[in-house]
């Protein structure tokens, strides 16, 4: 197990390096000069050159990359062009809010998705299976930003039960666990949970259905094992794959929350990202993407290791 963990950790390094290259290049595929947003319109050529030198933009690309990477290791993601504040701090505040949303959505989505998928796979071709399959296909097909709007229309506009946007009552800063704040979390978390419910239910249904048709299940029944004990075997068999789907969805939740945050004005990384895009604040864009991608890489790593811990077949391959 230890050797596997080490090997898996080593495999992450090139991927993390590649991710940082892509994030670095993002700024450079952008048309125009990253400094046009803050440069005075009538800046002279010398002033422009001085500004470029100050931001290090006059050096060759690979050198810029190494400097950028070096700063990265010291936790420095550069400064926002729009506000001048360090990107790292802005991203950290926003990511906390996004994580709160993503974790809440996971807590809703995964138990429901697993349960629905399992029931549908166990009772194949029953009315329950048909119902779950329909829910799942609707879940994977629905544009969640639209679903968010529809939920706002129903629960905020028509019924006025829940607030339409924001992460807390007006004027409150930061998150506290009281009803006033939780009210704001309900609609975005449910919206965000719908797609993973669909995907997890679909995958688990197919998985459980397949496993029940395997020879070993027949063998277990043949030797007189009770239904319940066979079920335990099936679940153990499905666990590793189900876990990997959940891991992928965790990351997707963090990414998917970008659009949902826009719908609900949730002050998370998605909002930060769309602000960065509209103000053409490329360092902020770069930093946010980098942090989110690294979260995704870490989530996958953790899932892989957990998978190996519960399924000995993975370690051996």
């Amino acid at each position: 197990m230890f050797a596997y963990v080490i090997r898996r950790l080593l495999l992450v390094l090139p991927v993390a390096f590649g991710v940082s290259i892509i994030c670095f290049l993002l700024v450079h595929i952008a048309p125009g000069d990253p400094l046009t947003a803050i440069m005075a319109v009538d800046a002279t050529a010398e002033e422009q050159a001085a500004m470029r030198a100050a931001y290090g933009l006059d050096r060759p690309l690979p050198v810029q990359f190494l400097f950028w990477l070096g700063n990265l290791f010291q936790g420095d993601l550069g400064n926002s062009i729009a506000t001048g504040r360090p990107v790292a701090g802005e991203v950290w505040r926003a990511v906390q809010n996004s994580l709160l949303l993503a974790v809440t959505a996971s807590l809703i989505a995964f138990p429901i998705g697993l349960l629905l998928g399992f029931l549908a796979g166990y009772f194949r071709d029953s009315w329950l299976d048909k119902l779950v399959t329909s829910i799942a296909i609707a879940g994977v097909s629905v544009p969640n930003y639209w679903l968010g709007m529809v939920l706002v229309i129903i629960f905020a506009v028509k019924l006025a039960w829940l607030p339409a946007m924001g992460a807390g009552p007006a004027g409150s800063d930061g998150w506290t666990f009281d009803w006033l704040h939780i009210r704001h979390l309900i609609l975005p978390a449910i919206t965000l949970a719908v797609v993973p419910i669909g995907i997890v239910a679909r995958t688990v249904r197919a998985l459980v259905g397949d496993i029940f048709h395997m020879d070993f299940v027949m063998a277990l029944y043949a030797k007189g094992m009770s239904n319940f004990d066979v079920l335990i075997h099936v679940i153990r068999n499905a666990a590793a794959t189900a876990l990997s789907v959940i891991g992928l969805q965790m990351g997707a939740l963090l990414g998917g929350s970008i659009l949902i945050e826009t719908v609900f004005n949730w002050p998370g990384s998605g909002m930060l990202l769309s602000n960065a895009i509209f103000q053409r604040d490329l360092p902020l864009l770069q930093g946010t993407i980098l942090v989110l991608a690294m979260f995704f890489v870490t989530a996958n790593l953790v899932v892989d290791i957990l998978q190996a811990a519960i399924d000995p077949r993975i370690k051996r391959s």
Binding site: C23, L26, V27, V140, P143, W146, M149, G255, I277, F296
Partner: protein
């Protein structure tokens, strides 16, 4: 003579593989309904200017945000008084184009990369697949928004960023299907009888791997649609005043208190289209999985 005729009549009609797939899909009522709905959407989008519709760009200050069922505006009007029915039908043009094209582009590029990687193996495989792995470190929504955000809004930029998003998954599937086929006996036989790499790939590999890759790619179309409209919804896709479902959803967002159901219409179109794409792809998959 007569005997031969009877024999002929008795022999069941023999179909090729794809004809069989087509036959099974056309017997699947769900898939067929979805196919008809999609064709209706695509055709009405293409021939929108021949349909008796109002001008989708013509704004009117006095006819803003009319509800569904208004005289002269069957589906109401948007926040600038433009006819919703016309905008929804015209909107299909860009949404469907940006929603489907990237998958087609990614299908060609991804298949090519994956087949080469899977067939060549060794270092070529390592280089291609490790590069692909890096792109997998980004959730697809994030990657699309990152590239579009950096490139800026615009139809071409959306097409480019979404194509980049879908190349890695297709490459990965193409690679795994191809490496499976590569070790098959008939490939061995073809190589042993003197076929060079290109011939073997063209004749024996491509025919056997394109089917599964195609089915996988078809399952990506609905995600691509939702993402494409999502980019416009965020403001990094199609620019106003162009009618496009995601963008319409965005501009109508301010109208949810005034006229909520009109505001929800463009999203309903995205939902219906992506539902049909998913169900059709599912039908195609089960039609191709039948082994007989």
């Amino acid at each position: 003579m007569a005997v031969a005729e009877i024999e002929l009549a008795r022999t069941p009609k023999r179909r090729g593989y794809w004809a069989g797939v087509l036959h099974r899909v056309s017997g699947d009522p769900v898939a067929m309904v979805c196919f008809v709905v999609l064709m209706a959407l695509i055709l009405s989008a293409i021939f929108a200017s021949w349909l008796p519709l109002q001008d989708p760009y013509k704004a009117s200050m006095i006819a803003r945000l009319k509800p569904i069922g208004t005289e002269g505006h069957l589906l109401g009007t948007d926040e600038q008084g433009r006819d919703m029915l016309a905008r929804l039908i015209y909107g299909g043009r860009l949404t469907l184009l940006i929603g489907l094209m990237p998958v087609v582009v990614a299908f060609f590029i991804g298949s090519a990369l994956g087949i080469v990687a899977g067939y060549a193996g060794g270092r070529t495989n390592t280089i291609i697949m490790r590069t692909v792995d890096v792109f997998f470190a980004f959730p697809s929504v994030l990657l699309a928004i990152a590239i579009s955000g950096a490139l800026g809004a615009g139809i071409v930029n959306s097409l480019v960023s979404l194509s980049i998003v879908f190349i890695p998954p297709i490459t990965r599937v193409a690679e795994s299907v191809t490496s499976g086929v590569r070790s098959a006996d008939y490939i061995e036989a073809a190589r042993a009888s003197g076929g060079n790499a290109l011939t073997v790939m063209r004749v024996h590999v491509i025919g056997n791997v394109l089917g599964p890759i195609f089915v996988y790619a078809s399952s990506l179309t609905s995600v691509c649609m939702i993402l494409a409209a999502g980019l416009s919804f965020l403001g990094v896709g199609v620019k106003p005043p162009e009618p496009e479902w995601g963008l319409m959803l965005n501009t109508l967002r301010s109208a949810i208190y005034m006229n909520p159901w009109v505001a929800a219409l463009p999203g309903l179109m995205i939902f219906i289209t992506s539902l049909c794409l998913n169900l059709l792809s599912d039908g195609l998959r089960s039609a191709m999985n039948v082994k007989d």
